[in-house]
Symmetry: C3
Subunit: 436 residues, 3 copies
Amino acid sequence: MSDQLRQRLFAELDSIRLIDPHSHIEPKAATAKTLADILGYHYYTELIHSAGMPRTEIEEPGIDPKEKVRRLVARIEPLRNTVQYSWLLELARKFFDFPADEQLTTANWESLYDAAATKMAQPDWEQQVLDRTKLDAVFLTNNFDDPLEGFDTKRYVPCLRTDDLVFHLAKGDVHERLQRTTNTHVHDADSLRSAIGRLFEHFTAKGARACAISLPPIFTPVSVGKAEANEALDTVLRGMDTIYTRSDHTFEKDIATAANYVFWTLAEFCDEFRLPFDLMIGVNRSVYRDGVYQGQDLYDSRVSLIQYQELFNAFPRVTFPISVLASVTNQELVSYAWIFPNVVTNGHWWYSNTPAYIEHDAAARLEAVPQTKQIGYYSDAYKLEFCLPKFAMYKRILAKILAERFVIERGWTEQQALELGRRVLRGNVEQIFNIA
Amino acid sequence: MSDQLRQRLFAELDSIRLIDPHSHIEPKAATAKTLADILGYHYYTELIHSAGMPRTEIEEPGIDPKEKVRRLVARIEPLRNTVQYSWLLELARKFFDFPADEQLTTANWESLYDAAATKMAQPDWEQQVLDRTKLDAVFLTNNFDDPLEGFDTKRYVPCLRTDDLVFHLAKGDVHERLQRTTNTHVHDADSLRSAIGRLFEHFTAKGARACAISLPPIFTPVSVGKAEANEALDTVLRGMDTIYTRSDHTFEKDIATAANYVFWTLAEFCDEFRLPFDLMIGVNRSVYRDGVYQGQDLYDSRVSLIQYQELFNAFPRVTFPISVLASVTNQELVSYAWIFPNVVTNGHWWYSNTPAYIEHDAAARLEAVPQTKQIGYYSDAYKLEFCLPKFAMYKRILAKILAERFVIERGWTEQQALELGRRVLRGNVEQIFNIA
Amino acid sequence: MSDQLRQRLFAELDSIRLIDPHSHIEPKAATAKTLADILGYHYYTELIHSAGMPRTEIEEPGIDPKEKVRRLVARIEPLRNTVQYSWLLELARKFFDFPADEQLTTANWESLYDAAATKMAQPDWEQQVLDRTKLDAVFLTNNFDDPLEGFDTKRYVPCLRTDDLVFHLAKGDVHERLQRTTNTHVHDADSLRSAIGRLFEHFTAKGARACAISLPPIFTPVSVGKAEANEALDTVLRGMDTIYTRSDHTFEKDIATAANYVFWTLAEFCDEFRLPFDLMIGVNRSVYRDGVYQGQDLYDSRVSLIQYQELFNAFPRVTFPISVLASVTNQELVSYAWIFPNVVTNGHWWYSNTPAYIEHDAAARLEAVPQTKQIGYYSDAYKLEFCLPKFAMYKRILAKILAERFVIERGWTEQQALELGRRVLRGNVEQIFNIA
């Protein structure tokens, strides 16, 4: 009975048209060109590397896409149990008619590769994927100097990503890019603030619907006075690469002060421009230094939202859709969203984006956070093809929770359960990000 | 099959007469006067505020109870998914004949309000609620200077709440109230100890069955020598309000020392007077400063029971019923109760008092903590009407765990499962708190 | 349907012949002599002590085994709910024909005691237990100065346990035993390294398949230069007991430096000798100082695998099978095993070895860690008889996860599910520990 109920609920949830509120899609190359773009997703390369394939074989420069897929498939057997591999099979079945009862092997990969290449070469492939996925719009992750031109910003919704500004202002070409894109001489707190303001003007003019950032577990935002900011920026903006490589703790303190100044300024502009500020909390970058591309980041689960109390108190009008990296932080997220009007739960991020964690975390949210304050899911995808299997995974779990915890245990009608499902899947995305 | 088994077990568990080992009931105003006392429970005001209703509208001074309910109901739709809202509906159905298939809306709130008011005005309303809930006794949360007079202390069991003494001795009128109620000039460690002893005499004479306190995540109890205590108290007891507002770290250290002295002294008297010491571990007060009344507290889940190792070692004869605020601390609680004879698991507190967390936490306890060392549940209620739906939630989850994890998976008979259920629901409360 | 599926999967999993990759079995006294060896397992003594039996009654010196069992059984009723008690009943039923529907009581303990004694006295009892458990081999926990002689090292696989070397070099007779067993004058970093090298030669010559250690939550391994090591060892190796009892922080720093030097050297030899290095992370020793033997250890769940990032980066060729003490660390373990090729998940340790935690933790691993990188379970047993019920518990949970999360939810065939089960139960043990 419960199984059939889950099926019915899933079927209904699966008919809902989606807006994906966070992805890394490139709007001018939204879909894959070959299966190498699919198997090149870091989930596969890092898991295959973790299972024993040397990085040099995975990342050989200039390698032919077909040869790359051949190599990866030859080492993919250890991944068959993973949910990430199930995304791959579902994608292959739904988009490329891959047989339902087959594994991906050295015997059949080439026909899949060719079938995929043929479909991907069709001029309307992008539209086919969007239609099949029932996807109306996808949020992007745009560098602050992205011109945001040449694509339909209603379909591919701009989102101002700010990691570079907050954490890498002293590094590489960030300062230079900021000056160029804002046409501003950035040399102190005021000019930096003014430049950031121009970014917000540009992004909101282009239809941006969120400001976003990923944050390390150690980060605790505080307000920084202008004098203190100026002192820190004097070093940070002058120093750049040379100083950045020094192991000089004074300098590190200045970088931290500058980071706080920029972060707080971003929150102020989110307030002014009425833009939600997506916080993705808890990642440590480059933990595994010999990992494959995008497969080096891990975390320290000892992080608390108490670190954000000053921020949440200071900006009551800014909505903070929050993602946490570790499931052990999810209860704090539930509690903070239950108390703070400006805190909203946002999807299931990265290492928590697997069924056992999604189920535990989503159930807790659905039971204790107002239904208007929950963004159910985002794909985090780099290629459009992944939206379908990733959302499908979430919808199956959502159907399970609604069936077991609402219809059976709380006596809800299926209709009531589906209304809640629609809200977290679609309605809240529209409302929270102000999409007409 | 499993569903019917759960129903049967629930029906049996639901027939057990209860003692509620922790509440905030006022014995002389135990039940609600109007629905405003029900909807005014902080769970509703804080969730409705979190969902967007301004605090000023919720907490308008002198507002008429009926108008207050009207306003809250008008904004309650976002809470329909929450388990807290389900308590409200169950309460309305069980006590006020609210229709089983209706939501609380602007269309039907007034008839519910009037029906409730009529019932609440009946002279035996309190007895009706107790009977309907099968409630034999309820533990209170009494201020240290409560005279404990004018009510039946067998039904409303006194409990010495000590947060003020430990954490606010330098603040407001605490020192003054302590001197007055104990008729003692409190000016140093000895006189403070003597005053505290008088509180224990008074409370135990009146039938108190526990001493209780809630503790911030940072607290790590240590024994403080008398000389050190005297030095700290010299500042703390003299200083009071004026000094308390100084941001002087020496003073903060004195407050911490005084807190430790008082806390350790409480444990000594619990030993002497054979009183269990309820520890509710992990709350940070006033995190959301603009929150509604009682809706400002959150937590830092980075707390460990290792902080209490000296306490547990030092007081082998004191029973410590322990509640933890975050589910991530529950496994430590299970392990510490499994090892320390004087550590007992106690209910599901506040932010962990929702089904997904109760189920995960209670299952782990039932599998690994001796059955005599588990207090299943307490209501934490402010009005008697809430005991029924809150205990019902727990009993449904307990029935589920007993059905799935004991009867089905471990081959227990239903009778054995029910015996375990009776023990954690009722028997252990009697035994641990020494109730005849 | 799901229940029958679980039964079928369990039956198949239960037919797999096992290798137990971690135990405390003594190879020359592998099985129990009387039921006192069974009920003397610390799980029972500590739980019975926790439930109220004084330590002096449990640990009375020279007590007759039968009297000991009588006493423990008289106090065992509070444990009936625990999974540890269910191991005891399953063991009694499977090995000693204890009736399926009886509890262990003062009325029937003696006939069980006698039945067990008779069986245990049979000359082939050890073989009977191995056969009944379908156990091909069991890993040991050997002191570094164990001669490893007088037993079949194919059946009882040596494993170099190194807690003493890392954490107690300054204590008791550790230094002395190391010098004696390696015939080396250990007086500085070089000679210490040389002595450790001899241990690896000895152990690998005797067929050791792993190096192992348990680690406190505070430990963060770092590489130590030789000069620094020499300075620290100069104190540590000279000081011994007298200095160890001083509360001198300089000395504590030297102990920490020496610990790091030894630990890092062990990892270097694991690399050289191609030996996996089992890390059991998170235990605090002697937390409950008046606890029974082996019932004094607890933990601080605030530990992170980020503490091991330098180690994992520095030794890419060493496989680290990792156990974590608290379930809240399991997601980090999943994530680190998903990213680092040399990190492998290993069993369900101690306080996490109860069904609710195993289920949550194992499900997360099976969904996201390559199937070749998971060691499902080890018994941690002190007597062979415990391998059967402990593995049975795990196999039932594994069957449940495979049934619900793979066959039903992901549409796997039962055959595919069983292949995954075989791999984590047996195949990976062979592969990871290089067993022919």
